[in-house]
Symmetry: C2
C-alpha cells in the first residue's frame, strides 16, 4: 500500500486534455523520432492490462522500403474497394478524406497478438478467447496516450487485409494482425476528429450511451 502515487486535480485536468486531444493523426511532418523515445513508448504500452497477465502484444517496426511499399499497395487496393462500396454522395465525401499518413510518417509500427502464447496459461480466455486480442488493443490505446504526451501523433490504419500485412512483414505463425500504426510529429493539431471536420461522422451526445439495469 505504501508508495502508491496520489494524483491531484491538476494532473487529472491535464489527463482529460490529453484524452481529448489524442486524435487520430494522418498529417505528419517527415522529421524523425528518436529511437529511445519509441522504446519508452513501447515499454509503457507493455504495462497495459492483459487477460491472465498474458501480455500477448507483439510490435513490429517496419523500416524496409519494400515492406512499407507492400503495405501501402495493400492499403491502396483495399481503399479503392471501399470507395466503390459507397453510393454517390457518400462516395464523394469518402474520396475526399485523408485516411492515413503512410507516405510521410517516420515510424510504421504494426501490432500483432500472439495467439499461441503460453503466457497467462489461458486464464480468463475460456469463455471469451477474444480477450487475448483485446489485451493488445489496450496496449495500443496506452501507447497512443503516451505518444500524445510527448507531442507525437498516431494514426491507426485498418483499411488493410490482415493476411497481406502478416505476409508482407513475415511474422511468426500464430501472430494475428491487430493494427497498423503511423507515428510521428503531427503537421496539424485539432481538438475535433478529422472525420467530423470533413463531414463524415460527427461525435454523438455522450448522454445517450448509458443504460441503467
Amino acid at each position: 500500500m505504501t508508495g502508491a502515487p496520489r494524483f491531484d486535480a491538476r494532473f487529472r485536468a491535464a489527463l482529460a486534455d490529453l484524452i481529448a486531444w489524442r486524435r487520430d493523426v494522418r498529417r505528419f511532418k517527415p522529421d524523425p523520432v528518436d529511437p529511445p523515445m519509441l522504446e519508452r513508448l513501447l515499454d509503457l504500452a507493455s504495462l497495459a492490462p492483459s487477460v491472465g497477465n498474458s501480455q500477448p502484444w507483439r510490435f513490429v517496426t517496419v523500416d524496409d522500403p519494400a515492406r512499407r511499399q507492400a503495405v501501402i499497395a495493400d492499403f491502396t487496393a483495399r481503399n479503392r474497394e471501399a470507395l466503390e462500396s459507397y453510393a454517390s454522395e457518400r462516395a464523394q465525401v469518402y474520396a475526399g478524406l485523408k485516411l492515413e499518413g503512410l507516405q510521410v510518417a517516420p515510424i510504421h509500427l504494426a501490432v500483432f497478438c500472439d495467439q499461441a502464447t503460453p503466457q497467462g496459461h489461458g486464464l480468463g480466455q475460456r469463455t471469451m478467447p477474444e480477450t487475448l486480442r483485446y489485451s493488445a488493443v489496450g496496449a495500443i490505446q496506452t501507447l497512443w496516450l503516451a505518444a500524445r504526451a510527448e507531442g507525437l501523433g498516431l494514426g491507426w490504419v485498418s483499411i488493410l487485409d490482415p493476411q497481406a500485412v502478416a505476409q508482407a512483414l513475415d511474422v511468426p505463425v500464430g501472430w494475428e494482425f491487430i493494427a497498423y500504426l503511423c507515428l510521428g510529429w503531427p503537421a496539424e493539431e485539432h481538438l475535433d476528429p478529422e472525420l467530423a471536420r470533413h463531414g463524415w461522422q460527427d461525435r454523438t451526445a455522450l448522454s445517450r450511451k448509458v443504460l441503467k439495469r
Copy 2:
C-alpha cells in the same frame, strides 16, 4: 493548431506512474462512488478513438440485485469449469486466486459494442470488422486510466458467458458483450500484478516484444 496543449516532463512522469499503477483491482472497499465521478469517467471514455468515428461503445450500469446475482452466478459456474480444466498443480494455484471483486465493488459496469450502429458508415471496417469491437476496448482502457487518476480501482471480469450476461442485462439486439467491469475504491494498492504476486504468471522482459522488419 492554436490552443493545443503542451505536456511537460512532470506530467509525463506522472502519466508513466499512472500507467504502471493502473493494475486490475479485485479487492474493494464497499464505499460508494459519487455518481458525478462515474459520469465524468464515462465522458472521458467516450473520447476514445473509434473506427470511422463510429463510437460503438455502450455502457450499462448494473444496480439491480437480481441482475447482479445472475452475473455472479454465471461467473461462479464458468470459474468452476475453468478450474476443472487445469491439471493438479496449476489447479491448486488457480483455486487460490482472487479473480473478481463482484461481491464488494460498488459499481458494476458492463461494456457492449453496438454491432448494428450506423455511425461511422462502415468506414475502416470492411476488411477488419473487429475494429468496431476494438474501439470499445480503447474506451475501456481510457476509463481505466482516468479512474486510477481519481484513486479508483477497476477490475475486468472475463470469466463469463457473453450470452448469459447479455440476457441477464436485457440489452438491445446487436449489442455484443465486451467486458464486465468492477469499479470502486481499492482495499490495497500494488505496483505488481495480482497474478504475478500470487504465482500465476510473471511479467516478461519488455525487450523481447519488438521485431524489426
